[in-house]
């Protein structure tokens, strides 16, 4: 019997123990995560990621993002692997330019050809990497949105809801004003997978 005000499936979750999982137990503590300060270069960010991976290799899954901290140590941005790759995109092939081409009425085939040509005319990948390495992280990091924060005491199902609705790969875990860790999609998935198996057996 579903209690009034409780979401559907809640009883099953309770029976299988989803609510027993604590975010604190499955998050990666901030101290173990790759971080850089504002003003750092992309190369420094990538090196920080490598270092974090080496130091905390007991994690089953690799880190995939770097957090950017301000002078006060507060998280102001998140740099994903995709953000780093975005720095290698030739400037001429910007989305704005491609959108404008569509407004002129060129066909999709023409635009694909234009894109390809821009790439062929562009700078070799090695040079792009060298150039990108010196760029500042602020230019490519994503500022966390409201839905990317979750309280350390919040229930796991709430965190799952935020990940799914916001299409996020991780959430920043807060305790009061401070950010204390990262809740990664991959760790949440592992926890849920574990529960599924448990439920199957009981």
């Amino acid at each position: 019997m579903v209690e009034p005000g409780e979401p559907f499936g809640w009883q099953t979750a309770r029976r299988c123990g989803v609510t027993d999982f604590k975010i604190r137990e499955i998050m990666v503590p901030l101290s173990e995560y790759a971080t850089v300060r504002e003003g750092a270069t992309l190369l420094e960010a990538v090196l920080a990621l490598e270092k974090a991976q080496e130091e905390f290799e007991h994690y089953q899954y690799r880190h995939r993002a770097i957090l950017v901290l301000n002078r006060a140590g507060r998280v102001v941005g998140k740099l994903s692997q995709l953000d780093v790759l975005r720095a290698l995109e030739p400037e001429d092939a910007s989305n704005a330019e491609l959108k404008q081409l569509m407004r002129f009425g060129f066909s999709p085939e023409f635009i694909r050809g234009f894109r390809k040509r821009k790439r062929l005319d562009g700078v070799p990948l090695q040079n792009l990497c060298t150039k990108a390495a010196g760029l500042k992280v602020e230019a490519f990091m994503q500022t966390p949105s409201e839905g990317e924060y979750v309280e350390v005491d919040a229930s796991l199902d709430m965190a799952i809801h935020q990940l799914v609705v916001g299409n996020h790969l991780s959430l920043l875990v807060t305790e009061g004003e401070a950010i204390v860790g990262i809740l990664r999609l991959t760790d949440v998935f592992a926890a849920v997978f574990h529960l599924m198996k448990e439920c199957q057996l009981t």
Binding site: L101, F104, G105, F110, G113, F114
Partner: protein, 473 residues
């Protein structure tokens, strides 16, 4: 002058309402485009000829220095040194074909300017909008210095200095300085300065973008300031020569002009000109020390200096040719700027086509072979290599061309033959092919135009505005 100021503010706000989606603000542009004092200084004038239907109606408008020919109505508008040339408007009974059907005009076509502010703008040709053939409308629009509105009904739009809209119906668009648009019908579109766009749906699509920084040398325009750069300097340096032709009532016609050629009395003709048969020189054209061969023409705001045009040349509205030698049937498109130097001339071979809004400015001699197509910005041999091609090669394109700043998709043949047919039409319309009996055109019909002047209120609240004036045959 209160009424004039409030009219200007009202027009700017109306244009802004139309451009709100683009977040384009014309208020600072409109306020600084022309000092209000200037709008009270000049008379307006209109032509009378037995060859064109006459109907003029001016209501609550300022018309300083503007010229009207044919059928035109202005309402709540400001026209400053603007030419409304209605000698190609269609008349009752003319037919046009659309969707395989032939449709007859129910009345004479009229240029209808409402709630608009046009500065040194040329309005010419006839409405190419199949939905509005009897009314060539220009409403809620602001156009800047030396813009061309050619066969293009426009509503709610902005045209920057030296912009051209050609055979295109346009709604709620902002066209940047020195942009050329020929695209059939467009709406809610913003063109960056120096965009050259010619499209015929299903046939071809041509887009060239002038390099932004290099273009600024020639035309630079920011809201709140007058346009500046080489183009403006060139025109300002010759401004005084026009004062005489506008101040003197009875000008003596230059000698040695063939009977079948036409020189507008508001053109500047400086010494050592050769004018051959069937030549057409429109008002506000400027000629000096040049040779115009048979059937050549110089349209409004054209400047031809120290140059030789062999014959049947079309020099479209606003084009400038300096220290250059052009073979027969060379077409120079709208607002092109072709400048050689006395010691390094520019030569363009017969049958070549210079795309509208092309800049050729050289300090080394340059020769463009015959039957070539030229476009874009050319200041060196390397630029010419990128921005030119034999017409026959261009006609062979069937698909795509990416070359420098040019993007082209579709049929090169349709593009080239379309251009060539249009050039033949222009030559025919201008009377270049007149043989004494057949093929009369503007060069023959515009020879005897009587010109009357009209004046604004000289003082008081309505200073600068013209009273309601209706002129009928």
């Amino acid at each position: 002058m209160k009424a004039l100021k409030s009219l200007l503010d009202r027009i700017a706000l109306r244009v802004n309402i139309n451009l709100r989606e683009l977040e384009f603000d014309v208020v600072p542009i409109a306020r600084h485009l022309v000092p209000l004092k200037q709008m009270t200084k000049f008379y307006a004038f209109y032509g009378i000829t037995p060859n064109h239907p006459l109907s003029l109606e001016f209501r609550h408008s300022s018309l300083a220095g503007s010229y009207f020919l044919g059928r035109c109505r202005t309402n709540h508008s400001i026209l400053y040194k603007t030419d409304i040339r209605g000698d190609e408007l269609q008349i009752k009974g003319d037919t046009f074909t659309f969707g395989g059907h032939s449709i007859t005009l129910s009345e004479d076509e009229m240029i209808d300017v409402q709630d608009s502010f046009l500065v040194k703008t040329l309005v010419h040709s006839y409405s190419h909008d199949p939905e509005s053939r009897e009314r060539f409308f220009i409403t809620n629009t602001l156009s800047c210095h030396y813009a061309n509105i050619h066969g293009s009904p426009i509503d709610g739009s902005f045209l920057g200095p030296f912009a051209t809209v050609d055979l295109t119906t346009m709604y709620d668009c902002a066209i940047g300085a020195y942009s050329y648009i020929q695209a059939g019908e467009i709406g809610h579109f913003q063109a960056e300065p120096g965009t050259v766009w010619a499209r015929s749906r299903g046939d071809f699509n041509f887009v060239y973008k002038h390099p932004v920084e290099r273009l600024k040398t020639y035309i630079h325009f920011v809201p709140g300031k007058a346009p500046s750069g080489v183009f403006m300097d060139f025109l300002e340096a010759r401004k005084k020569d026009f004062e005489r032709v506008f101040d003197v009532v009875n000008l003596q016609k230059p000698k040695g002009i063939p009977a079948n050629a036409s020189l507008d009395r508001y053109a500047v003709i400086k010494p050592k000109m050769h004018i051959a048969e069937n030549v057409l020189v429109a008002q506000r054209a400027y000629l000096e020390n040049s040779w115009l061969g048979k059937g050549a023409n110089a349209q409004e705001n054209c400047y031809i200096l120290n140059s030789r045009l062999e014959g049947y040349n079309v020099t479209a509205h606003g084009a400038k040719i300096i220290d250059a030698d052009l073979g027969r049937r060379v077409f120079v498109g709208f607002n092109s700027f072709l400048r050689g130097r006395p010691d390094c001339r520019l030569a363009i071979g017969s049958g070549s086509i210079v795309m509208p809004h092309t800049i050729i400015d050289i300090d080394q001699p340059m020769h463009i072979p015959e039957d070539h197509f030229v476009w874009g910005m050319i200041t060196s041999a390397a630029d010419l290599e990128t921005n030119s091609m034999p017409l026959a090669d261009f006609a062979r394109i069937d698909g795509r061309l990416y070359r420098g700043n040019l993007l082209f998709e579709g049929s090169g043949e349709a593009f080239v033959t379309g251009f060539q047919k249009r050039i033949e039409h222009i030559l025919l319309d201008n009377g270049a092919l007149f043989d004494g009996k057949r093929y009369k055109g503007h060069a023959q019909r515009n020879q005897n135009i009587s010109v009357n002047t009209i004046q604004p209120y000289p003082e008081g609240r309505l200073k600068g505005l013209y009273p309601t004036i209706i002129i009928q045959p």
